[in-house]
């Protein structure tokens, strides 16, 4: 099943996965609290 989600980029703009699937998307998860 295709997944989709919306988060926020570092310029404050919404970023939706399905807008970027003209290529493969490699997502790295970072611990945070930096």
């Amino acid at each position: 099943m295709a997944i989709d989600f919306t988060v926020t980029d570092a310029a404050g703009k919404p970023w939706t996965l399905s807008d970027h699937l003209d290529a493969a998307v490699v997502i790295t998860f970072h611990r945070g609290d930096f």
Binding site: I3, H20, L21, A23, I27, F29, G32
Partner: protein, 180 residues
């Protein structure tokens, strides 16, 4: 990841980081390391981090577990790595192999846009990174030598961690170049 970003786009993949930090903290991280890819913010972890299985439920700080996913152009997860803790980081060669298996044409990825950048209170200054990684390396070597009796799993785990730290140390000149 950053130093080998070109290898990812060459294999048809664009790289994005996700953390539970704020937009401003992520902007500061992108700026500090001159990252060629964005870091995306999911501060409540309910948009991507938790639904995709990367929330660290054992840590009260509301953070993510480390790891990586490769999502195909069809929107399917085709590769997944979930770290045990913050000492586990994805290995680029594993991700590149996963990407290569998709047989995609090369793509491009524009440098990330960032807004106001405000590092978190705990953010390490760029100048501290070398010392941080060297400290991690030599402490791990000492612990590894002290506990040779702990067997193969401990030896393999510390060896893997040392290899990761060495990759980060080796990557620092690349960061310096990007920042110049």
């Amino acid at each position: 990841m950053a130093n080998r970003h070109g290898e990812f786009v060459q294999r048809g993949g664009r790289v994005f980081g996700i953390s539970a930090d704020t937009v401003e903290m992520n902007a500061a991280m992108v700026e500090k390391l001159a990252l060629p890819f964005p870091i995306l913010s999911d501060p409540d972890r309910d948009k991507a981090i938790a639904p995709l299985g990367f929330a660290d439920e054992n840590d009260p700080r509301g953070i993510a577990r480390t790891g990586a996913l490769i999502i195909s152009p069809q929107g399917e997860i085709v590769f997944s790595l979930l770290g045990r803790d913050y000492a586990d980081r994805p290995v680029e060669d594993d991700l590149l192999a996963g990407l290569a298996a998709l047989g995609l044409p090369a793509t491009t990825q524009a440098p990330p846009e960032i807004g106001e950048a405000t590092p978190g209170d705990k953010a390490m200054a760029y100048e501290g990174l070398t010392h941080y990684f060297r400290g991690a390396k030599f402490a791990t070597l000492a612990i590894r030598r002290r506990h040779r009796d702990l067997g193969e799993e401990f030896a393999a785990d510390t060896k893997g961690y040392l290899a990761m730290v060495e990759r980060y140390i080796d990557a620092l000149p690349g960061v310096e170049e990007r920042r110049a």
